[in-house]
Symmetry: C2
Subunit: 217 residues, 2 copies
C-alpha cells in the first residue's frame, strides 16, 4: 500500500512508525471504512426513512463551526423527482439515480444563522452579523457542511447502509431545481441502499501511506 515518498527530506520526526491500536473493534472498522466500498449497483431493497434518521441522529453531534450544523438532506424518492435530479447529473451518473433505491442530495443551509438561538445561545449576537454577510454564510455553510458529509457517510454505514457518492453534477442546476425557496446549496449526491449481489463495486483501489501524507514540523 505504500508509494514513493515525495518531498519529505525536511522531516525531523519518523513517520514510518507502527500504528497504535484503535479503540474500536475490527468489525466496526470494517463496517465504517476498511471493508466498506463505494457501491455503484444496488439491490432493490427499499431504504426506510428510519435508517436515514438513525444516521442523522448519530452524526448531528459531530463538531461544526460555531455549532452551526448546516447539513441538510433532500431524500429523492418519487420517479418525477428522480428525473428532475438526473437532468443535472453527468451522463454516466443518470441511470444510477434512476435505479438506486434512494438518492440523497446532501446540502448546506446558507440560512443556518436563523437557528443560532436554538443551537448556540451563547453566540446569538452573531445573527445580525451573519444576516448582513451572505458571502461568509455561504463559505461557512459549505465548509462545515462538507465536513458533516464525511460524518454522514460514516453514519449511513453505521446504520447498516451502503453509499455511492457522486461528484459529477451541476450544483447550480440542482439548487435552482430543488432549493430556490430555502437557500440550500447542494454539496454531494449519494445513492444509498444495499449492494447488488454481483458487480456492485470496483476492486479495492490503493491508497497513499501515512508517510506520504503526513509531515511534522
Amino acid at each position: 500500500m505504500t508509494t514513493e515518498t515525495t518531498d519529505l527530506s525536511d522531516l525531523d520526526f519518523p513517520t514510518d512508525l507502527e500504528a497504535a491500536p484503535l479503540s474500536i473493534s475490527d468489525e466496526v472498522a470494517d463496517l465504517l471504512f476498511h471493508e466498506a466500498h463505494t457501491v455503484n449497483a444496488f439491490a432493490d431493497d427499499a431504504v426506510p426513512d428510519g435508517a436515514v434518521r438513525a444516521a442523522y441522529d448519530l452524526v448531528r453531534w459531530g463538531p461544526t463551526a460555531m455549532y452551526t450544523v448546516p447539513l441538510r438532506l433532500l431524500l429523492v424518492r418519487t420517479p418525477d423527482a428522480r428525473a428532475r435530479l438526473a437532468a443535472h447529473l453527468t451522463e454516466g451518473n443518470r441511470s444510477r439515480v434512476l435505479t438506486a433505491p434512494l438518492t440523497i442530495v446532501a446540502a448546506a443551509d446558507t440560512s443556518f444563522h436563523h437557528h443560532l438561538a436554538t443551537l448556540a445561545p451563547h453566540a446569538v449576537g452573531m445573527v445580525d452579523t451573519f444576516e448582513g454577510d451572505a458571502e461568509s454564510r455561504v463559505q461557512l455553510a459549505r465548509q462545515s457542511g462538507l465536513i458533516q458529509v464525511g460524518y454522514l457517510i460514516a453514519g449511513l454505514r453505521a446504520a447498516g447502509l451502503h453509499v455511492g457518492p457522486m461528484g459529477g453534477f451541476d450544483a447550480a442546476g440542482i439548487d435552482t431545481e430543488f432549493f430556490a425557496d430555502n437557500g440550500w446549496r447542494s454539496l454531494l449526491v449519494l445513492n444509498v441502499g444495499q449492494p447488488a449481489l454481483a458487480g456492485s463495486a470496483r476492486p479495492r483501489a490503493r491508497r497513499l501511506a501515512y508517510a506520504d501524507v503526513a509531515r511534522t514540523v
Copy 2:
C-alpha cells in the same frame, strides 16, 4: 431536542418517524459522536504519531472524488512551529495551539493528480487534463479534502483521541507559512489529545431534529 419545523408544508412523506437501530453498539456511538465533545482544554499527555497514523490508516479508505484522496496532515509539534502557526489564528485560538499536546493542520493537496497512477490507474488519462486546470484541482481537492476531514475527526476518536477543531484562522497565511513548497491548502486546524480533568468542554449544545433538516420529494 426538536425545534420549530420550518417550511415543510410540501412534504409528502412523514419525517417524524422512529429511528431504526444502528449496526454499531451504544459504546461505539458514544465514542465517535454521542458522548464525544469538542475539547478546548487538554491534559499534558503526549499524543504519539502512531495514534494519528492509526486514525489515518482507518479513514484513508473513505470515498473521495475519483479516488483522489487529497487530505494531507501537518503535525505541529515544535515550539517554533506552534508560534508560526499561532500567528495566523484569531486571537482567541492562539493560546489553544500553544498549549495543546498536538495540533494538526488538515490540508488538501492541489497536486493530487500526480498520484493518480497509484490511486486510480483506470483514470490516469485525467492527469494531463488536471495539470492544465488548476481551478478544478483546487475545487476538487477542497471538496473531497473537507469530506475527509469529517472522516478524520471520527477516525481520531476511534483511535482514542479527542479533538478541538478551530475554524478561526487565516488560511492564506498558513498556506504561505507552511505550504509554499507543496501546494497544500489548509482546511481546518485541530487540537488533539486527551481532555483536561475539568473545564475541557462546553455543556452539550442542542441540535436540530431530523424533521427540521430532511425533506423528501
